[in-house]
Symmetry: C2
Subunit: 282 residues, 2 copies
Amino acid sequence: MTKIHIIGLGLLGGSFALAIQRAKPDWIITGHDNNPGHLQEALVAGMISEHKVIPDKDTDVVILSTPVDSLYPLLTQTLDHVGTNTLIMDFGSTKAKICQQMADHPKRAQYLAVHPIAGTENSGPKAAVEDLFDGKVLIICEMEKTNLHLKGLAYDIFEVLNMKLRFMEPHDHDLHLAFVSHLSHISSFVLGKTVLDKMQDEKNIFDMAGSGFASTVRLAKSSPEMWAPIFLENKINMLEALDSYIRHLTAFRDKIAQDDVQGLFGEMREANKIRDILDLEK
Amino acid sequence: MTKIHIIGLGLLGGSFALAIQRAKPDWIITGHDNNPGHLQEALVAGMISEHKVIPDKDTDVVILSTPVDSLYPLLTQTLDHVGTNTLIMDFGSTKAKICQQMADHPKRAQYLAVHPIAGTENSGPKAAVEDLFDGKVLIICEMEKTNLHLKGLAYDIFEVLNMKLRFMEPHDHDLHLAFVSHLSHISSFVLGKTVLDKMQDEKNIFDMAGSGFASTVRLAKSSPEMWAPIFLENKINMLEALDSYIRHLTAFRDKIAQDDVQGLFGEMREANKIRDILDLEK
């Protein structure tokens, strides 16, 4: 009988619980959330069979799905407590700092650093859906540092969830994610703020917001509690990505100011290539 | 028997044709597109019953659905040609310049300046769908300048299409659209370009692009031929919107650089308010 313990029962942790329940109804899932309302919602939704702040010593897998700045203390506390046959994974969106912090930990082999490329702009247990992970990419960092037997159980779980595994160095992960994911969130947060600052009449925004605006600004609904720690933990890469974005925006702005229609065509045709990439799957 | 002529059979013009055909199968729809491939596609799809470069003199309504820099010459040429009972509407995304150009035109009363807040990132007749306008907002500018009888027919058509009419001055329209729609397109085009410039390995972008990136960058697939003229025609408002966006981005960047976690929370909580606006309908 496999025992899972999930710390953080929000969008990712809750969706993981639901997916495991569907695939493995006989597994035992316990868990905890620091937010009493979220904990209650998770219990009512039956995501966990029992609330436990601390996992049993014989838990097979502990999942940490909380803001990235909470992961290292949680990880070390949990490793101190559990037995030698427990694997701990975190779902954090940054990997370089925690892998570095864990580098010399005596129980490093019981830790697997992963990042599921899955999510929505919503948060909390009510946002959880059982197919959130289905068909999505899971990035694994420093897999060679994790105990082979424990890793085997993790891989079995990811196969059950129908995830596509990718392996990457922590630094590469953080740099690429800064550009592809974290920058999108900032562009969207700031777009929302810019529009709200300018337009006092919210009805006007609503009336004029076509599906294009709704799509571009969607991530501005995301949780500040999750994202502020990500931006700060990935600071060096974030600043590189943001500086590059601001530089490109300024170049685009100047082409408008100079009526440089050919220059604008060029910028947009370059950007159009993103279609081929996003459609790769089809 | 009502006769409609559509110039520009792409996403908007084509969707308009499909919606009219469904609602009013006995109406006659003719049309033209400068792109021979698009014209052929529109004929094959049965969007128009006959290709005519120039509408018949007794056409009831002519729709102009071409890039905004082509609208004024098309409008004056068409007005020169048609009889006094023909209404001409343009679907352009900018309204101030064309309303100003038309201000003293002797046939001004036969023109209605409208802007359907409807679209996708795709273009051409193949992107057209018959429910594109269904339930969407249609902004009408300077409606008092249009002949009452001709306007009546236009309103009947918008009712058939189930559109929600809003009335706005051309300058207000362009200013608000610069922030709510046109800026979204630029933020998305430039996000696409920034990511493509940094990441040489397209497979990496694809693997790491969660649905968040796909949503934020979706508009980067849009047509440069449509959008370059919009940005240039709405230049003064675009520069205001872009300068404000870049200023807000720089402030966000500096808060990351200074580890100002409370400042980041504040920015993101402000931006979170966009959720209430986008959810107004629900």
